[in-house]
């Protein structure tokens, strides 16, 4: 009897599937990694505050989400202020919501760069929470499932270190100050990445505030891009394939995204066909299901549109990850996420 596989059932585990993707090989089916971050807390019924202040709780929630949904990666993340907090910004921790920026480190006219501390990822803010989560998840399931750790890119961190409006104004009025903040943020992000790697996590860069919905293509090139490039260069030293996620509409930035050096690009509100046409020969594509739809749409609608998306996505030459355009909203119905994943699994096959 021949055991050679010719049926559409899963042969690979997520670790093996991701491993093939990053060496330009097609796995059994496309990787399916919706951005299930804080939504994992809702899956397990723990409070959000527990999720983002307790590394073990975060890891357990992520593992429980994987068991519930069967997607292809653990996503260690809660919100983008984590490095800024470790550098001196203050956040409020609501019981059942994500941390909220209370007082940026650079507040008021007298604040200088001296008040920004170079954080120690093992001690400062909630960076140790992330490291604990990575360590726990890696020990528990790291042989079978990749552990992705989301790291805010320097532009986004810079905005969380300042009054966001002032920061954006300074890109025009005081660009040197913005560049200095980004430089300091880059060093902090590099140190954090270094510890993430030693714990077993694969750093993913997220730069939501560098979105085309927030800044112009020129501002992206002048301010966000150098920080992203610096971090990506650091990770390339380790021979990692780097994922960059930018929220919102990045259509005007598509050409610039190649310049980041990222190996996989996670897109949000962009025409997937256009993105594939422009990027897919050089970069692997991740995306980009509408998060409003996964949060509030009907399961029929989700199933239909996910299938359409995946059928387009798997044509990307260098590879594709079926995902949501941004984080799965915290209170998304479990059925909706299950529908997303089963629809992607139905049509995302490369083998057989």
């Amino acid at each position: 009897m021949s055991l050679m596989v010719d049926k559409k059932y899963e042969i690979l585990n997520p670790r093996e599937r991701f491993g093939l993707l990053v060496i330009d090989e097609k796995p059994d089916r496309c990787n399916i990694i919706p951005l299930i971050t804080s939504h994992a807390a809702a899956v397990t019924g723990i409070s959000l505050k527990d999720y983002y202040t307790n590394g073990t709780a975060m890891a357990k929630a992520q593992i429980a989400a994987i068991e519930e949904y069967g997607h292809d990666a653990i996503s260690i993340f809660s919100e983008v202020g984590i490095i800024a907090e470790a550098m001196g910004s203050e956040f409020i921790y609501p019981d059942d919501d994500l941390p909220v920026l209370k007082k940026p480190a650079l507040t008021g006219l007298k604040q200088t760069m001296d008040c920004l501390r170079q954080p120690d990822p093992k001690k400062d803010g909630r960076l140790p929470v992330y490291l604990e989560a990575i360590d726990y998840a890696y020990s528990a399931v790291g042989d079978k499932i990749p552990i992705l750790a989301y790291v805010p890119a320097p532009f986004t961190t810079g905005m969380m270190l300042s009054d966001p409006n002032q920061f954006l104004l300074d890109t025009i009025k005081n660009p040197q100050r913005v560049k200095k903040i980004i430089e300091i943020s880059l060093n902090a992000a590099i140190e954090f990445c270094y510890e993430i790697i030693n714990a077993g996590g694969l750093p993913i860069l997220v730069d939501p505030l560098a979105s085309g919905s927030v800044i112009s293509p020129k501002a992206f090139r002048d301010f966000a891009l150098p920080g992203e490039q610096g971090l990506i260069n650091f990770l390339h030293r380790y021979d990692f394939d780097v994922i960059l996620h930018i929220c919102g509409d990045t259509t005007p930035l598509l050409d610039s995204l190649i310049l980041t050096g990222a190996d996989l690009i996670s897109l949000d509100r962009v025409d997937l066909n256009l993105a594939i046409q422009k990027l897919a020969k050089k970069i692997r594509i991740i995306g980009n299901f509408d998060t409003t739809k996964i949060g509030f749409g009907s399961t029929d609608e989700i199933a239909k549109e996910v299938k359409e998306m995946v059928r387009i996505g798997i044509k990307a030459e260098k590879g594709y990850i079926a995902s949501t355009g941004c984080e799965v909203p915290i209170r998304t119905p479990v059925e909706n996420v299950k529908t997303f994943i089963s629809a992607a699994k139905e049509v995302g096959w490369y083998w057989g």
Partner: protein
């Protein structure tokens, strides 16, 4: 710019710290298949740990640039094989033969031999039973040699690309692995079978040996013809060149063993040395780059020997190691207890014997194979070790058994008997993540026994 620090064994996080000093130009300097885009491999152990090799978090490594290069290259092998296919090379699996068939394969341009059974380390490096469990589900008993991971790897097609050709050696090879190879054929693969003759007839030389030699020649001719069929190339001069290259590799490894095992202080840890010995089989799928790496390792060892420095204490107790451990952590562990490996009888000694260059190539390959210790009697396998014991160079012997591997079941007791003048510790290598306190205690007791003798 990174320069070798004082030699020592360091952890994964220490290596990450050291890696900060490695310059861009140093990283870009070393490539496999000379490809600057994806052929760079100089990464610290943490990179491979992030991609799932969990045991690296617990292992200790030599701290030289040569060893960094060695590990980066070895851990990169799976990707290298896929890349080989992507750029049009032919990837040829050789199973169960231990070092000779690859010499033939490497005589054909753009053909890359590899040993699928070397995947037996993967469950240990990953601290994972994924491959072993799949093999069990496919009918290989739980108590079978860890090489059963190979079956699961063929099934999953994620650890190496589908080979263009598979050479499978049966006969005088491990019974468990013979069964596994047959299962691989059942998966729909089409191996080309060849037979390794039974052990050399020591009682009736030269007739017994000669008959086996002629038989092996005919088998190697079949391998050659199949490769000619695949590639359309039939150039025996290339085989002569391939033999010369294999000999360069073999003599280099022999020299590294001599330098390392005879130095007053161990210049390189046992784990790196085992990895080097196994590279003799096929050069980890890029024999040119592997040779370059070994030359760098040799330079490092020579410098250390010259300076009288090394990675273990000067008073580490010298022992011999028989049969390789599937779990790399054991090699670290033994050194942590104050022991030092000064002689090895890994099954790959088969790929250490020089190949004659002034006779017909297939005969030279057959003779080399038949001269090796594994194909000889048990008495012959332990002879070097007994000599070492008698001249005081070896104080104890450690034998690692693979449950299910027939050669272990057959030979371990005999070896213990033949080595009765010296403390012997015989251990069954436990499943991944299975090194227990009990095992540690046994190694500690073994060390004490030697010290008190």
């Amino acid at each position: 710019m990174f320069r070798d620090p004082k030699p020592q064994k360091i952890s994964l996080s220490d290596w990450s710290q050291q890696f900060k000093l490695v310059g861009e130009e140093q990283i870009k300097k070393f490539t496999y298949y000379r490809n600057p885009e994806w052929g760079i491999y100089l990464s610290p152990p943490a990179t491979f740990m992030v991609y799932g090799a969990r045991e690296l978090k617990r292992l200790k490594f030599d701290n030289s640039m040569a060893s960094l290069r060695l590990w980066g290259f070895v851990f990169n092998e799976s990707e290298r094989l896929f890349r080989a296919k992507q750029i049009g090379k032919r990837v040829i699996a050789t199973m169960g033969d231990l070092g000779t068939v690859p010499v033939i394969i490497m005589a054909f341009p753009h053909c890359i031999p590899f040993y699928p059974e070397c995947i037996w380390w993967t469950p240990f490096f990953k601290e994972s039973t994924v491959l072993l469990d799949v093999a069990t589900e496919m009918g290989i008993p739980e108590a079978a040699c860890f090489s059963k991971a190979t079956l699961a790897a063929f099934y999953k097609k994620a650890y190496f690309p589908k080979p263009d050709l598979i050479f499978a050696s049966t006969g005088a090879s491990c019974d468990d692995y013979s069964c596994i190879m047959q299962q691989i054929e059942d998966l729909g693969y089409d191996p080309f079978w060849l037979e390794i003759p039974f052990r050399r007839d020591d009682l009736n030389p030269p007739l017994g040996g000669l008959r086996q030699e002629e038989y092996l020649i005919s088998e190697y001719e079949r391998v050659w013809n199949r490769m000619v069929e695949l590639t359309g190339i039939n150039d025996k001069n290339r085989l002569i060149q391939s033999i010369k290259k294999a000999n360069r590799l073999r003599s280099l490894v022999a020299n590294l063993k001599k330098l390392t095992y005879e130095a007053s202080i161990a210049p390189l840890p046992a784990l790196e040395m085992m990895t080097i010995e196994f590279g003799n089989l096929y050069g980890y799928a890029d024999s040119d780059e592997w040779l370059n790496i070994l030359e760098m390792v040799q330079e490092t060892i020579c410098n250390r020997v010259k300076q009288g420095v090394g990675v273990l204490e000067e008073d580490a107790i010298p022992i011999a190691w028989i049969t390789p451990s599937a779990d790399p952590l054991l090699l670290n562990l033994v050194e942590d207890f104050g022991l030092r490996i000064v002689e090895t009888e890994y099954v790959i000694n088969q790929a250490l014997v020089p190949i004659e260059e002034d006779i017909e190539s297939f005969r030279a390959l057959a003779r080399s194979f038949l001269k090796a210790s594994l194909i000889g009697s048990t008495k012959e396998r332990v002879k070097r070790i007994i000599d070492g014991v008698n001249n005081g160079r070896i104080k104890g012997v450690l034998i690692t058994n693979m449950i299910g591997a027939s050669h272990c079941a057959m030979e371990t007791r005999l070896m213990e008997k033949m080595l009765s003048d010296v403390p012997v510790l015989s251990i069954d290598v436990p499943a991944p993540f299975g090194i227990t306190e009990q095992l540690r205690t046994r190694i500690a007791a073994f060390t004490e026994t030697i010290k008190n003798k």
